[in-house]
């Protein structure tokens, strides 16, 4: 990753209010092609809200978000077309319980991307192999562990061949022994050059995998830098306080 590579996600002066509360306070951020950005911060700092506004699961009250040249809040923009290019992984997995693992991966590929079932199945098989649950293809999610379900969810998002992947606390709902298997998949993805924005409390992952750490507090970006700069040399008082509490 080099800093002069193409900007994939451009966030400019984005603000959002919940009544009186300023959830996002004039946030600006550029995410480059192939970059892994990890957003950290105390709960209620606005990191999930920022992430969810990138694919418009949350709407913003002011500012601009441009994904690969497309202004997503422009009235002429079809948000569904934008979302095809932006994969999302949720804290609560949100796999479709009435569909098998394979059907979970195939659904949007056939309905949205208009691939044939054969095409979709071919892509799904490769992805299931990649996330290490190929043998579960015919199972329903209810029979899978949390870690396996989350890997299905990651594969499902990847099946759309997105340009950028958003992870909203992907390991927070997992039992400790399953966190590793999900982080391993994410690490592999980052190394392959996938553009990723990750909200997480996993500091080990942030330190090892992130190209850049964004620290948020009270709806604003307070500090950012490489993992080395952030974890070991930050001068910011709030970041220092947060790190002392979490590490």
């Amino acid at each position: 990753m080099t800093m002069d590579s193409k900007t994939l996600v451009h966030i400019e002066n984005v603000s959002k209010f919940y009544g009186e509360l300023k959830a996002l306070d004039s946030v600006s951020l550029d995410i480059h092609d192939g970059e892994t950005v990890v957003i950290i911060g105390p709960s209620g700092s606005g990191k999930s809200t920022l992430l969810r506004s990138i694919n418009q699961l949350e709407t913003i009250d002011a500012g601009k978000i441009i994904i690969d040249g497309v202004d997503i809040y422009d009235e002429a923009t079809n948000i569904n077309t934008v979302r095809e290019e932006v994969g999302m992984v949720f804290q609560s997995f949100n796999v479709f319980p009435h569909k098998t693992v394979m059907e979970n991966l195939n659904l949007a590929q056939t309905v949205v991307r208009k691939r044939t079932v054969e095409e979709a199945t071919g892509i799904s098989k490769k992805l299931l192999e990649k996330v290490g649950i190929f043998e579960k293809a015919g199972q329903y999610p209810g029979k899978l562990s949390g870690g396996q379900q989350q890997r299905v969810a990651i594969a499902r998002a990847l099946a759309m061949t997105p340009k950028v992947m958003l992870f909203d606390e992907p390991t927070s709902a997992l039992d400790p022994e399953m966190i590793g298997e999900v982080l391993d998949v994410m690490t592999k993805l980052a190394k392959e050059g996938m553009t990723m924005v990750v909200v997480t409390h996993e500091m080990g992952f942030a330190r090892e995998v992130a190209d850049r750490i964004i620290f948020m507090d009270h709806g604003a970006i307070v500090e950012q830098g490489t993992p080395d700069e952030f974890f070991d040399h930050t001068e910011n008082d709030r970041a220092k306080l947060f790190l002392s509490q979490i590490l």
């Binding site: 949100n94 479709f96 009435h98 949007a108 309905v111 949205v112 329903y140 999610p141």
Partner: protein
């Protein structure tokens, strides 16, 4: 089916509109359903066997009415499902206009007795358009039950975790694709038991249409009784036949539920 994490199924709504629907784990020989069903059939058989005059004559006179009752009930079930689905989706629509119309429909119709609605469509609106009684009966029943089913659909759809919609939408699926492929297939499981109850209630309420000169089971019984003056015998037979039909329908609903909850 077992689910984990946040994708938990809401608890099923347990009420019965009659017909003592047998539960899956209720495997005893003397379930309420079996006792009632076999009892009703035996009484009909005994009456016809030991007192063919007038019971056999009554039994021969009623099948036309049973046919009409079935016709009205089945047509109304299908139409009310359509009305219910449309209005139920309307009730959760973000569009204020659609939501308003759906809510108005549900509130108005549920506030007026079915018998009054039957009179209104047949006699009051008959001033402008005179439709056949049977058609009026089906329209009135469908509109009425559609409003109740709309509320069941709404509740069933509301019970699906929000994350399911978010996941589908984040994959680029449109709102209607999400409803069709993700929300409704899951909602069906919670919706089916209360909807099955509505089917049974609808079957029983179909006897109200006899008031519009529709020759359903009850009407045929009335015709027979008013000529023969065998009121006790005729209405005993009518009641037993309704009971048997209701029990059969409740069994069908139970089988359907089992089938759907077994799939995945």
């Amino acid at each position: 089916m077992p689910m984990s994490g946040s994708a938990e199924n809401p608890k099923k709504i347990e009420t019965s509109e009659g017909g003592a629907i047998p539960k899956k784990d209720d495997i005893g020989l003397f379930t309420a359903w079996r006792v009632t069903f076999i009892g009703a059939i035996s009484i009909i058989a005994a009456l016809v066997y030991f007192k063919p005059e007038p019971y056999l004559a009554i039994l021969k006179f009623l099948p036309d009415g049973i046919y009409v009752t079935f016709k009205v009930t089945i047509a109304s079930i299908f139409l009310s499902l359509v009305f219910g689905l449309i209005a139920g989706l309307g009730r959760i629509s973000q569009n204020i206009f659609i939501n308003g119309i759906a809510s108005l429909y549900v509130e108005v119709i549920r506030g007026i007795p079915l018998l009054v609605q039957l009179f209104y469509i047949y006699f009051a609106l008959g001033k402008f358009v005179q439709l056949p009684a049977e058609l009026c009966a089906i329209i009135a029943m469908s509109i009425c039950y559609g409003a109740y089913m709309a509320e069941i659909f709404r509740a069933g759809i509301d019970a699906i975790p929000k994350g399911q919609t978010e996941a589908a939408r984040s994959l680029g699926m449109t709102s209607s694709q999400t409803t069709k492929h993700v929300i409704l297939p899951q909602a069906i499981k919670t919706i089916l038991p209360p909807v099955g109850n509505e089917f049974i209630a609808l079957l029983k309420d179909s006897s109200l249409v006899s008031i519009l000169a529709v020759s359903d089971l009850l009407r045929r019984g009335r015709e027979y009784a008013s000529e023969s003056f065998d009121y006790f015998e005729t209405y005993t037979m009518v009641a037993l036949i309704y009971l048997v039909i209701t029990l059969i329908l409740s069994k069908l609903v139970a089988i359907m539920e089992d089938k759907i909850s077994d799939d995945g």
